[in-house]
C-alpha cells in the first residue's frame, strides 16, 4: 500500500538570535489513505510545526526546513515547491483545522464568506450560489441546525462547538484526501469534545479521508486513532498501532505519560509523575533528549542519540533499551 | 547549586537592555541620542559663539561661511551655536512636557481605570473635554491666559498630552485590574493603593515609555507650531521651534535658517523613534 503522505527525516529550524536552531529533527512517518494517525506529545514538542511544514505554512522569514528532509504527498514532493503550487494543494488536497476555533475563524467575515471563498479558490468556475449550496449541505452534514441562516452570521455569534464544526465543514468542503486536525478539541468542553470526535470519526468513514489528529491528550488518541506517534522534544519517540502504544508502551516517556494520567477507573493514591520538565530547543541534550528525565538513563543515553528500533511489525521506539546493543 | 539556565536571574529591565544592545537600529538611536545630549550638555564649554549675540553686519550668511560653519541667521547670530544651545532648550521642552503629561495622565488613568464608576466617569469626561478641544486652540488659550513663553508653552502642550496618556493607562489598568495576579493580591488582603502602585502601575509602564519616547518629538513640533503663531518660546532664546518659525520668514533668501533646525528636530525624533521601537521590542516579553 503506498502511503498518502510520506515524511522522512524532517528537520525544521527556527531562527533564534541569528542562528537557526533545530526544533524538530529526524521526524519520519507516513499516513495511509483513509487511516487516522494520532500525534501526541506535550506542549512544545513540535506537533504543530510538523503539521505546518506539510502545509507549507511555516513563517518563511525565520524558519526553514533542512535539505535532507522529504515530504511526499501522493508521490509528489512538497519541499521547495512554489507558493502557487502549494495553493492548489492547500484546502483541496490537504486541509487543516486548528486548535482554537474562535481565533481560527476570521472574526470580521461571515461564515458563508469564509467558506465560499475557499471553494471558489479551488473551483473558480462555481457560481456563488452553487458554492453556497455546497456549504449548506456540508454544514448540515456536520450537524449544524439552521445552516441557511448561519452562513450570514459571524463567528462570535456561535458557540465554540459550533465554530469547530464549521471549521471541520470548511476543511472537508473540497473533499481533501488528508485532514490535519491540530488539537481540534482542546479548547472545548468534554461533552462537546465527545460530539466533535464522534463527528470526525463518522465523516472520515463517509469521505474516506485520512486524518492526522494532533493532540496532547492521550485519551483522545486512544479513542479515535488507528496508529499513534508519540513525540518528545522535537523527535518521534515511539510509533505504533494504537493498541501497541496503549497496551504495551515501550519508550520510558510513553510509559511515564500513561502513568501520570489520573484514571477514572482505578483508584491510585499517588500519581507517577515524570520528574523535571521539557527542555526548550536551545538546550536539547546531545544524546537522547529524554535522558535527563528518564529513570533508565545511562551514560550512553546522555551521549548518543538513539535510533528508531523496531519492536514489532508496526511498532518502533527511539530508545537504547530496544537497540540490539542495549543501554550500555 | 547553580541552575542550568545560568547565574543570577536578570531582571526584565536588564533583559531589555541586552535585547537593545543586540538591536542595531535602536543602538544607532541610542548612540545618536547620546551624542546629542552630550553636545547639549557640553554647550557651555564648547568653543561656540554667543548664541544670542546679534551681528547685523553678518546677517543670513550661508552654510560654510568662515567663522560660521553653518551660517548665520537673520540677526547675524551663529547658527551652529544656536542649534546646539537651542537643542538644550528644545529637548528639555520635549522631555519635561512629556514628563508632565505622563505623570498627570498616569495618575488620572490609574484612578479612573481602577476605581471605575464615579471616578472613571468624571475623569474620562474631563479628558473628553480636553480632547474635544483642538490642541492648538487649547494651547493658544492657555498661553493667552498665562502669557507666551517657554514655560507656558511647555505647560500648554503637556496639558494637551494628558488625556492621551490617561487613555492609554486607563485601558491598561482596566485590563490588568481583572488579571489574575491582581486578583491574587486582593486575595492576599492587599489594599487598593498597594495594588495600584506595586502591581498595576509597573505593568502600564512599558507602553507608556514607548509612547513617551515618540511624543518627545511631537512636543517639540507642537511647541514650534506655537512659535509659528508667535506664542512659543521667545526670542532671542535659541530654541528649535522658534528658529524654525523665524527662519520660515527668510525661507526664500536663506533657506538654511529653517532647514537646519528642521533637520535637527528630525534627527532627534528619528533617534527617539529608534529608541522607542527598540524599547517596545525589548520590553515585549514575547519578542526574542
Amino acid at each position: 500500500m503506498s502511503a498518502l503522505l510520506q515524511v522522512e527525516d524532517l528537520e525544521i529550524l527556527f531562527k533564534k538570535k541569528k542562528e537557526y536552531v533545530s526544533t524538530v529533527s529526524g521526524v519520519t512517518f507516513h499516513v495511509n489513505p483513509g487511516e487516522t494517525l494520532g500525534i501526541v506529545g506535550e506542549s512544545g514538542c513540535g506537533k504543530s510545526v510538523t503539521s505546518l511544514s506539510i502545509m507549507g505554512l511555516l513563517p518563511d522569514n525565520y524558519s526553514r526546513i533542512s535539505e535532507q528532509s522529504t515530504i511526499q504527498y501522493n508521490g509528489r514532493s512538497l519541499v521547495g515547491i512554489s507558493e502557487r503550487e502549494f495553493r492548489n494543494i492547500r484546502g483541496k488536497e490537504i486541509a487543516m483545522i486548528f486548535q482554537d476555533p474562535m481565533s481560527s475563524l476570521n472574526p470580521v467575515l461571515t461564515i458563508g464568506y469564509q467558506m465560499v471563498e475557499m471553494i471558489r479558490a479551488h473551483e473558480p468556475q462555481l457560481s456563488k450560489k452553487a458554492a453556497e449550496e455546497i456549504i449548506i449541505s456540508m454544514l448540515k452534514k456536520v450537524g449544524i441546525p439552521r445552516a441557511e441562516k448561519i452562513i450570514d452570521e459571524y463567528p462570535h455569534q456561535l458557540s465554540g462547538g459550533m465554530r469547530q464544526r464549521i471549521m471541520i465543514a470548511m476543511a472537508l468542503s473540497c473533499n481533501p484526501k488528508l485532514l490535519i486536525a491540530d488539537e481540534p478539541t482542546t479548547a472545548l468542553d468534554v461533552t462537546i469534545q465527545a460530539q466533535i470526535l464522534e463527528l470526525i470519526k463518522s465523516l472520515q468513514q463517509e469521505f474516506n479521508t485520512a486524518v492526522m489528529l494532533i493532540t496532547h491528550d492521550l485519551a483522545v488518541v486512544a479513542e479515535v486513532c488507528d496508529r499513534v506517534m508519540v513525540m518528545y522534544a522535537g523527535t518521534v519517540v515511539e510509533e505504533g498501532q494504537a493498541a501497541d502504544i496503549f497496551n504495551e508502551a515501550k519508550h520510558p516517556y510513553t510509559i511515564g505519560l500513561l502513568n501520570s494520567i489520573p484514571s477514572l477507573e482505578e483508584n491510585i493514591s499517588r500519581l507517577d509523575a515524570i520528574p523535571g520538565s521539557v527542555p526548550s530547543p536551545e538546550e536539547f541534550p546531545s544524546g537522547c533528549r529524554f535522558a535527563p528525565r528518564c529513570p533508565h538513563a545511562t551514560e550512553k543515553c546522555y551521549n548518543q542519540p538513539p535510533d528508531h528500533y523496531q519492536i514489532s511489525d508496526h511498532h518502533f521506539a527511539r530508545c537504547w533499551l530496544y537497540s540490539k546493543e542495549g543501554v550500555n | 547549586m547553580e541552575g542550568k539556565r545560568g547565574k543570577r536571574a536578570d531582571g526584565p529591565w536588564k533583559i531589555a537592555c541586552k535585547k537593545i544592545i543586540r538591536d542595531k537600529a535602536s543602538m544607532v538611536g541610542f548612540v545618536l541620542l547620546f551624542l546629542f545630549l552630550c553636545l547639549f550638555l557640553l554647550a557651555p564649554v564648547l568653543p561656540l559663539q554667543n548664541p544670542v549675540e546679534v551681528n547685523l553686519a553678518k546677517r543670513l550668511q550661508p552654510i560654510g561661511t568662515p567663522g560660521n560653519m553653518l551660517g548665520t541667521d537673520h540677526l547675524g547670530r551663529d547658527m551652529l551655536s544656536r542649534l546646539i544651545w537651542g537643542g538644550r532648550v528644545s529637548v528639555v521642552i520635549g522631555f519635561i512636557a512629556v514628563g508632565i503629561a505622563l505623570v498627570f495622565g498616569t495618575i488620572l488613568g490609574l484612578v479612573a481605570g481602577y476605581f471605575q464608576r464615579f471616578f472613571d466617569t468624571v475623569i474620562m469626561r474631563f479628558m473628553d473635554i480636553l480632547m474635544a478641544f483642538p490642541y492648538v486652540l487649547l494651547a493658544i488659550a492657555i498661553i493667552a491666559a498665562l502669557g507666551p513663553g517657554l514655560l507656558n508653552t511647555m505647560i500648554a502642550v503637556s496639558i494637551v498630552g494628558i488625556p492621551y496618556y490617561a487613555r492609554i493607562v486607563r485601558s491598561s489598568t482596566l485590563m490588568y485590574r481583572n488579571m489574575e495576579f491582581v486578583l491574587a493580591q486582593r486575595a492576599l488582603g492587599a489594599g487598593h493603593w498597594h495594588i495600584i502602585v506595586r502591581h498595576i502601575f509597573p505593568n502600564c509602564l512599558p507602553p507608556l515609555i514607548v509612547a513617551a519616547s515618540l511624543d518627545v518629538g511631537w512636543m517639540i513640533l507642537a511647541a514650534s507650531g506655537m512659535s509659528f503663531l508667535g506664542l512659543g518660546a521667545q526670542p532671542p532664546l535659541a530654541e528649535w521651534g522658534v528658529m524654525l518659525s523665524e527662519g520660515q520668514k527668510y525661507i526664500r533668501v536663506a533657506p538654511h535658517e529653517s532647514l537646519l533646525p528642521g533637520l535637527a528636530i528630525f534627527l532627534v525624533v528619528l533617534s527617539l523613534n529608534l529608541v522607542g521601537d527598540g524599547l517596545r521590542d525589548a520590553l515585549d516579553p514575547k519578542s526574542k
Binding site: D217, A222, E223, I261, L271 | F181
Partner: protein, 320 residues
Amino acid sequence: MAKLLQVTNLKKYFPVKKGLFRQTVSEVKAVDDVSFTLYEGETLGLVGESGCGKSTLGRTVLQLIKPTSGEVVYRGSNLTDMNFRELRPFRKEIQMIFQDPYASLNGRQTVKQILQEPFQIHQLYSRKEREERVQEILEKVGLNKEMSNRYPHEFSGGQRQRVGIARALMLEPSLIIADEPVSALDVSVQAQVINLMQDLQEQYKLTYLFIAHDLSVVKHFSTRVGVMYLGRMVELAEKSSLYKRPLHPYTKALLSAVPVPKVGSKRERIILEGDVPSPENPPTGCTFHTRCSYCMNVCKQERPNFKEVENGRFVACHLY
C-alpha cells in the same frame, strides 16, 4: 468532621446593561443558589463545563466579588457581612491558587518579592525572618533557593504553578481555593503539581476547594465532588459513589464523555445534543432539561430542589 465553611444559598448575578441609558435589563446568573459545606481537612472537587460559574463561585466564597445574596460562614464568622477591613484577618486564613500560573504572577517581580509580599501586606515578621520563611516554603514546593531571584518568565509552567502554590501557603491558611490549578499544565507536570498539593495538604492540614474541569483529576484528588451546570450545583456526593453511580443525568453524560486512555474500552457513551445554553437566558425549570434525555414535563416548569437523596448525597433532579 468539623465544619470549616458553610455556603448557603449563594447567588451572584452579574447585571447585563443595555439600552439607552445602560440600564440593567437582565442578569447573568453566574452562581444561582448554591449551598454546600466544607469540612476541615477534606478536598471538595468542583467540576462543570466552561462558563458554568465555578470561578465565580470560588471568588464569591473568598469575597473577592461580593455575592448578590446568600451567606458564607467561615468558622462561625459570616464573611458576607464584612467590609474590606474586617475581612483582612480572614485573608490570611483562606487563600487562592489560580488556573493560569503566568497570569497570576506579576511578571515584574522576582519570586522572592512575590513570596514576601503577603508578609508586607500584613506586616508580619522581620526582614530576616521573611527571607527564611521564603527559603523554607520554596524548598517545600520543590524549588531551590537559588531560584528566588528569578522572574516568573524564567520558569516552566509547572515551576510557576509551584510559585503560585508557595504564595498561597505563605500566610499558613487553613483553606485553599484552587481554581483550575492544573488545567494549563501538561500531563507530566500536572501529575507533579497534584502530588505536591496532596503532600502539602497532609503537612499543613489544608482544606481544599478544588475547581477543575477534568473529571479524572477531580476524582483522583477529591474527597467529595460537586457537579455544576449553568450556575447551579446539580449533584454533590462522596467521590466513590458519584463516579460509580452518578445520579443526575448530566453527571452521567459528563462521565461518559470523558475519553479514557485505553484502546477499545468500549463504554456506553451518552452524546449530549446541542450546546450549553447561555447563562444570561437560562432555560426555565431545570436548566438541563434542554439537553436531558430523561426530560419530563415537570422539568420544564419547576426548578428541582437540591436535596439529600441518600446519606451525604445531594441531587437536584426531578427523577429523585
